[in-house]
């Protein structure tokens, strides 16, 4: 078997094991939180009888281990189960929420990744001159301001004052594609501002690192243009660290945007997960947790594999 394929299988198996561990950890931690779903649902209006009845109905009286393995048994067959709190099918609700999250992450990535890499290359080309300094200053400023603040500022000036784009990013199935894009314009801008600096700086640093090497000097000496040196000779050798940081940021765009979701009232996974943690709705928390973990593990795996493919020494191990 080709060593690369073998490696992919190894990573996949390891990923599954990790997922299993993550689910056990999430289950244990949710169980350790004070209170349970019955108490959280009834809130201030809980009476002992109502609590007992609700616990019975939710099946919370059974031992924790039994519940965990039941859930595990279900998920192996592709059944995510029912939410404890509103009895809705989890696969269905998570499906639409995940779709929304990926939609937003996709468009944010489409805008931010090429932009970050381009700005990184530009910064290297004009290293230590004003374009480099300007790019660094602006992107570092936007990453330093909390994302909710950027969100509110954009909502106020762009949506409320100028009347462009909608202040809420509420999308639903009855909207056309154009309406959806209009609705998510502001969150995409915010997310772009948040992730831009990290990827841009990494691109700049990685390429600068390569620029010190002898073959770049050779390329320069044989008379190639500055941009061509960067693009043909430095960039391919800097791909591994760049892909790594891009993947990390993509993962962030999927799993870490709950604050942006709240500010723009975006119906994504983050808010959905937070609501269910507050209500101690263990099956939903597990489902979301496992999906998030899978995305993280998957993206990291892709980063590793790309890094190996990009490096002939790793591609052909002795």
């Amino acid at each position: 078997m080709h060593p690369i394929i073998k490696l992919v299988f190894q990573r996949l198996a390891l990923g599954l094991l990790l997922l299993f561990g993550a689910s056990a950890l999430i289950f244990g931690l949710t169980e350790a939180l004070p209170g349970d779903a019955a108490q959280a649902v009834l809130g201030q209006s809980a009476t002992p009888e109502a609590l007992a009845n609700l616990r019975e109905e939710m099946g919370l009286n059974r031992p924790a281990l039994t519940r965990y393995f039941e859930w595990l048994g279900g998920i192996v067959q592709g059944d995510l189960g029912q939410s404890l709190t509103n009895r809705l099918d989890i696969a269905e609700s998570v499906g639409s929420r995940l779709g929304n999250t990926l939609f937003l992450a996709f468009w944010a990535a489409i805008v931010s990744v090429p932009l970050a890499i381009f700005l990184g290359l530009l910064a290297v080309r004009y290293r230590n001159r004003w374009p480099d300094k300007l790019i660094s200053a602006v992107t570092l400023t936007t990453i330093s301001i909390p994302e909710f603040l950027i969100g509110y500022v954009l909502v106020y000036f762009i949506a409320v004052k100028l009347g462009m784009f909608s202040p809420l990013a509420m999308i639903n199935d009855s909207m056309s594609f154009g309406q959806k894009l209009n609705a998510i314009a502001l969150p995409v801008i915010v997310l772009t501002m948040v992730v831009l600096a990290h990827m841009m700086r990494m691109t700049r640093a990685a390429i600068l690192n390569v620029m010190q090497s002898a073959y770049v000097e050779t390329a320069e000496l044989k008379g190639l243009s500055n941009f061509k040196v960067i693009y043909r000779h430095a960039f391919p050798n800097a791909i591994a660290p760049i892909v790594n940081v891009v993947m990390l940021n993509l993962a962030y765009l999927v799993v870490g945007v709950v604050v942006v979701e709240v500010v723009f009232v975006y119906p994504g996974m983050g808010q959905y997960l937070v609501d269910h943690v507050t209500k101690r709705d263990v099956p939903v928390v597990l489902a979301c947790g496992v999906i998030f973990a899978a995305i993280y593990i998957g993206l990291n795996m892709i980063a590793d594999i790309v890094a190996i493919l990009a490096n002939p020494r790793l591609r052909h191990p002795k």
């Binding site: 959280a40 649902v41 201030q44 809980a46 009845n53 909502v155």
Partner: protein, 527 residues
């Protein structure tokens, strides 16, 4: 000129003239813009409700865990969902009387133990079935039987038996209760086909709007139900949009994405009211913010210490700083002028450092810090209110120590568990229900552990008393007893602060709940 104006307002009332035309012509006649605007509004109101339009409400208080099952309603969005699609037997009117809904009339026996609800004929559910007394009986059973997990379980306790008889629904109580119709107006008690026994979360009721889209935590869309029994419900569709973030809610309102929003923060209410396109509606209600002490736990088992703490809180300052004036001062009892049979002559407790210090001394407290638990979620501004309380108490030499708790789990781990904490009450339609919910010895939610037999006896006596003057006297005594001996420190009653677009008309101040007691989708319309 007068004749012309009369003709014009007539045109408006008949729906033949728009606001723009009216304002233009009125200006030509030399009428000031403000005057013309008022005249137009009056004329438009005289025209009565206009049909049509799509209403969108931006609401705080919705989670993706919400269900449409009325038994589970505990926050604003589910509550509003129920108001759109469902009806209760009776409703509490803005003036505190009982308004007929699915029951045409209510009659109590002379001893106030047997209550008969005569049901309306020909009421249709959204699934096409006609409502019968069996449906009503099943609904009430589902909320009160042994398996019930209903939020209304507490108020259904005094029921001995219920029966459905032709077009009548009859309730027999174990003890007399002159306020039973008010209990039946509880928003959980939405009449469902077969009582919702088979599918409680189907969202099928008899209300003016039927369910179209149910996405918990995101939006709930309802469309007009053509066969609805009443004249209420003027919109083509009504949508509850969940916007928990306050800033986002305000932005959505300002940009016109929603026409109505609940829970406007007092901080921004003044700023918002300057916007020309909307009106901030502040409604004095029965809800109140409280600090509660367990009367049976040291050191709060000492009435001198409790009294010292009651004197040590500056109520005026709290209303001014925490509520920014959108509320009124409390008097250490859960009752205010918004309740029927309230005794206005009960003296107001004033802030007094001297009296606080004096009572504190008498209590003989050892000077160890008194721990007050609070959280952002206890009530809006609870952490700041606790800090203000701490400062004024320190002036009287009372050492308060604030312990800040997480919002998550506050209602299960702190409230009704710890001896001294911040909390809130939403209020109830009548005094009896408020006292029975939280101050009766046997009440589950007796969060001050106030257990006084004399008080309980008075409550039962008032219940059976049909002479309202005598009832008022008893309630006055009970209020005084709680004010002077109870574990409740009630610094303020909060207003409901909602904001409504000027495109809508028909607002009517209703102290029973936010957004006109949830009746906005029924009673308002687009001008």
């Amino acid at each position: 000129m007068k004749e012309q104006l009369t003709h014009m307002t007539g045109q408006v009332t008949a729906g033949k003239m728009t606001r723009r035309e009216f304002m233009g012509k009125a200006a030509a006649l030399g009428v000031s813009a403000a005057m013309a605007s008022t005249m137009f509004a009056d004329a438009a109101r005289a025209a009565g409700p206009k049909k049509g339009g799509d209403l969108k409400l931006g609401l705080q208080g919705g989670e993706s865990t919400n269900s449409l099952d009325p038994a589970t309603y505990a926050s604003s969005v589910p509550y509003m969902n129920g108001r759109h699609f469902g009806d209760t037997l009776v409703e509490v009117a803005p003036d505190g009387t009982i308004e007929a809904r699915l029951a045409e009339s209510v009659e109590g026996s002379a001893d106030a133990k047997v209550w008969t609800f005569k049901l309306r004929d020909g009421v249709e559910f959204h699934n096409g079935k006609t409502m019968t007394s069996e449906d009503v009986l099943k609904t009430m059973e589902r909320h009160s039987n042994e398996d019930s997990k209903s939020g209304a379980l507490g108020i259904m306790k005094g029921i001995e038996s219920m029966k459905a008889d032709g077009n009548n629904f009859q309730v027999t109580l174990t003890e007399p209760n002159a306020d039973l119709p008010y209990l039946m107006a509880d928003y959980h008690l939405i009449i469902q086909p077969d009582g919702g026994m088979d599918n409680p979360a189907a969202g099928i009721g008899t209300g003016p709007y039927k369910l179209e889209v149910d996405e918990p935590g995101v939006r709930h869309l309802f469309s007009k139900f053509e066969n609805h029994w009443s004249d209420y419900g003027h919109f083509d569709s009504v949508e509850n949009v969940v916007i928990n973030d306050t800033t986002a809610r305000t932005a959505a309102l300002q940009s016109g994405q929603v026409q109505m929003a609940n829970r406007i923060e007092p901080k921004v209410a003044d700023l918002l009211s300057r916007a020309p396109t909307l009106t901030v509606q502040s409604t004095p209600g029965r809800g109140h913010y409280v600090f509660i002490m367990h009367c049976d736990t040291a050191p709060f088992d000492n009435n001198e210490l409790r009294t010292a703490l009651k004197y040590a809180i500056n109520r005026e300052e709290m209303v001014e700083k925490i509520l920014r004036g959108y509320g009124s001062v409390g008097n250490d009892m859960p009752i205010n002028a918004a309740y029927p049979l309230f005794d206005e002559t009960i003296p107001q407790r004033e802030f007094s450092i001297e009296k606080a210090a004096e009572h504190y001394k008498k209590s003989g407290h050892d000077g160890s810090p008194i721990i007050l638990r609070t959280a952002d979620g206890a009530f809006p501004g609870a952490v700041d209110a606790a800090a203000l309380f701490q400062q004024t108490a320190a002036q009287a030499g009372i050492p308060l120590e604030i312990e800040r708790e997480p919002n998550d789990g506050y209602w299960s781990e702190v409230w009704n568990v710890q001896p001294f904490c911040a909390s809130y009450w939403g209020g109830r339609p009548v005094q009896d229900q408020m006292y029975a919910t939280a101050y009766l010895s046997t009440a589950d939610w007796n969060d001050t552990r106030f257990k006084v037999k004399e008080f309980d006896d008075m409550l039962f006596a008032a219940r059976a008393e049909l002479d309202s003057d005598k009832r008022k006297g008893i309630y006055s005594q009970m209020g005084m007893m709680l004010r002077d001996n109870g574990g409740l420190i009630c610094p303020m009653f909060n207003d409901f602060v909602d904001a409504v677009s000027n495109q809508l008309d028909g607002w009517d101040t209703d102290p029973n709940g936010e957004l006109m007691n949830g009746q906005v989708s029924r009673k308002m319309w687009f001008v």
